[in-house]
Symmetry: C2
Subunit: 147 residues, 2 copies
């Protein structure tokens, strides 16, 4: 099993960062505009991109602290992976520790997804610090997959 | 052992991407302006940042295909890790598969470095596609470490 790990620091309160992670309006604004579902424990959120989509089940929602999703539909390599965001305050920043855990193999697609998660976490940072994220379809493109 | 993996696609020839990875002028333009040393097999390259530095020994240089470094000085967590860039052409892109292999533990600093490598690889992409990278000290900051 291999994991994708990231860390960003955001000049915003844990409360505001949590809101951007734990509400449909929030995730729509930094990951993909095409998001629907219910962000409550046991609920399903459907994230859509031009090339397909990902459905997650919400496993944990701990205000200002933690969000945990399990992927239930999506690219084969993503199935059963768990995506978590852990928050803590340091200086004027809310630190986000991100993990996507449970990749079976370090395939080339995992390399792509690692880079792309950085792009989306910087979109989250931008959303909170400037009011404007770069969610799909306005996301920064990183390679020849147009995603 | 855990690894950092990334993938970017650059609209440039493998020859030009290789040059940006295998010459001091190249790496100075996308990673850190404060770079000295000899980019030849067996040579040592010294990368400096405001907060410290990293020395690597060049293990492999295969034109248009591959660059491999071993870290010989730097943050304790980086020691003995190997940094590689593998190149291949797809469509109009040169695909860069990046790995930093041999982290002993998935410490918080590794989360930071994963995100930051994405930032520097996007700087490499920008250098080749627009003529301008964002090397340190003009690198995009991602958190409260000012790096």
């Amino acid at each position: 099993m291999v994991d994708i790990l990231h860390r960003v620091g955001i000049k915003a309160s844990p409360k505001d960062v949590y809101k951007a992670l734990a509400t449909i309006e929030g995730v729509s604004s930094w990951w993909t505009n095409y998001t629907q579902g219910e962000s409550k424990v046991g609920g399903v959120i459907k994230f859509r991109f031009e090339a397909g989509g990902i459905d997650v089940k919400v496993l944990e929602l701990e205000p200002e602290k933690r969000v945990l999703w399990q992927v239930i539909e999506g690219p084969q390599e993503w199935l059963a992976t768990r995506i978590s965001f852990a928050l803590k305050q340091e200086d004027d920043y809310t630190i986000v520790l991100f993990k996507q855990q449970g990749w079976r193999e370090p395939v080339e697609f995992m390399h792509h997804c690692t880079t792309k998660w950085a792009i989306f976490l910087m979109s989250l940072k931008s959303l909170l610090e400037t009011g404007k994220g770069a969610a799909h379809p306005s996301d920064v493109k990183i390679d020849n997959t147009n995603s």
